[in-house]
């Protein structure tokens, strides 16, 4: 290709490689998933954002913080992470993918204290630090093309699947939620959002009123995620179930 501009032609050996530099497709997906999920306070965003090199060093802390963020907006009183994480971002008012089912009848039946989403969530996502904090999204969603594209972002697909289960539970259809979660387990054997899925499974059992099943799932959950910030909330939920 001939370039009319002699400057560009004479420096094409340096400018060409710069034009051909590719963006890591995984990073690309992380950004799109984070953008779609609203990042701030969203489990998708925080989990998605952790692959950044500067965050790898803090991966363990991030896991706790991300989970706290997710489960915090779920409706429980999750403990704040013990690690001193500095930047503070406002949590979204609701997270479609991870928001807990809160039908009024369920709340009444199990007498669960439904706490509002935390007003602030500590995060180690450095990129959030300087972001505009003035407006947190009132509603965040995972776009369909992210969720359904073949071979595309499995994180978005995980989130979408859990969103379906949560929506089913919100509609009061625990059996649909259970089937969706079973499909999630089959599809994502070691899913990034496995902890959220397991907690949602306990919510389903609680809603169905099967105390034995809820306790069995809870015991597994506690063994698998001994430091989960959801433990306290799930314990309260099961304690509130009729014997």
């Amino acid at each position: 290709m001939t370039r009319p501009d002699p400057f560009l032609r004479s420096h094409d050996d340096l400018l060409g490689p710069a034009r051909r530099e590719k963006f890591d497709p995984h990073a690309r997906r992380r950004i799109l998933a984070a953008a779609a999920g609203g990042l701030a306070g969203s489990g998708v965003g925080i989990v998605a954002g952790v692959a950044h090199a500067s965050l790898w060093r803090a991966l363990v802390v991030c896991g706790a913080v991300g989970t706290a963020a997710v489960l915090g907006v779920w409706g429980g009183r999750s403990p704040r992470p013990a690690a001193p994480v500095e930047p503070v971002v406002r949590a979204p008012a609701a997270v479609v993918v991870f928001a807990p089912p809160r039908p009024a009848e369920q709340a009444a039946a199990v007498a669960l204290p439904i706490a509002p989403a935390p007003s602030a969530i500590a995060s180690i996502a450095t990129s959030v630090r300087a972001a505009d904090r003035s407006a947190s999204p009132a509603r965040v969603t995972v776009p369909r093309e992210l969720a359904s594209a073949e071979g595309e972002d499995s994180l978005a697909r995980e989130a979408a699947r859990l969103g379906e289960a949560k929506a089913a539970l919100g509609r009061g259809s625990a059996s649909d939620a259970r089937r969706t979660l079973a499909a999630y387990d089959r599809e994502f054997k070691n899913g990034i959002l496995a902890q959220e899925a397991a907690a949602l499974g306990i919510d389903v059992a609680v809603t169905e009123g099967g105390r034995a099943e809820a306790e069995r799932r809870f015991a597994l959950f506690r063994r698998r995620f001994p430091n989960s910030p959801a433990l306290a909330r799930l314990t309260r939920a099961i304690d509130a179930m009729p014997e």
Binding site: L14, A18, A27, S54, V140, R144
Partner: protein
């Protein structure tokens, strides 16, 4: 019914904003890289830009979306790079750079070296000239587009590009002996 319609509208808006972002990500990434960020920091910067964009896109005119994205990235990238320099964390090339596993390793090495040399030359430019140079001569945007993207008069873009090219020529002669020999 109303809430379901509102939900659908939200999804549509989010989807279209994500589509815009997806379309621009490669160019934004290259711009961040040539503004002096390593690949990992470029991802961080893009994430920050994406967040701001997702919050603001509803109030942006379509014709100004690209200008908005590049304008925010310019500020984020220069700030992030300066902070890194203060912390003396620069110089570590990231493993996040993508290379074709089926490509010719020698060719890839040559391309990587060319980019390193280019970045060293770009470091010789002030940020305002550098941004104009990257957008005009690497991203091959028109001066009119760059004027919109960086929110400056077209005449300013032209003069900055001219000065940037002078700096580029002189820095390349100094830093790239092969280039100097080739010209003489």
């Amino acid at each position: 019914m109303t809430s379901s319609l509102a939900g659908r509208a939200d999804t549509t808006v989010t989807t279209s904003a994500t589509a815009v972002l997806e379309r621009e990500l490669e160019a934004l990434f290259r711009f961040a890289r040539r503004m002096g960020l390593d690949a990992a920091d470029a991802e961080d910067a893009l994430q920050e830009v994406a967040l701001v964009f997702m919050r603001r896109h509803a109030s942006l005119e379509e014709s100004k979306v690209r200008a908005f994205l590049f304008g925010v990235l310019y500020k984020v990238a220069t700030r992030m790079r300066d902070r890194r320099r203060k912390l003396r964390e620069v110089g570590e090339e990231s493993a996040l750079l993508v290379e074709d596993p089926h490509g010719d390793p020698e060719e890839q090495l040559a391309e990587r070296r060319a980019r390193q040399l280019l970045d060293t030359i770009l470091d010789a430019m002030p940020d305002d000239q550098r941004a104009v140079f990257v957008l005009c001569d690497i991203e091959e945007c028109t001066m009119a587009d760059v004027a919109i993207q960086l929110e400056m008069p077209a005449g300013t873009v032209a003069s900055r590009l001219r000065r940037a090219r002078e700096v580029f020529e002189s820095a390349r002669r100094r830093l790239d002996p092969k280039y100097g020999r080739g010209l003489s």
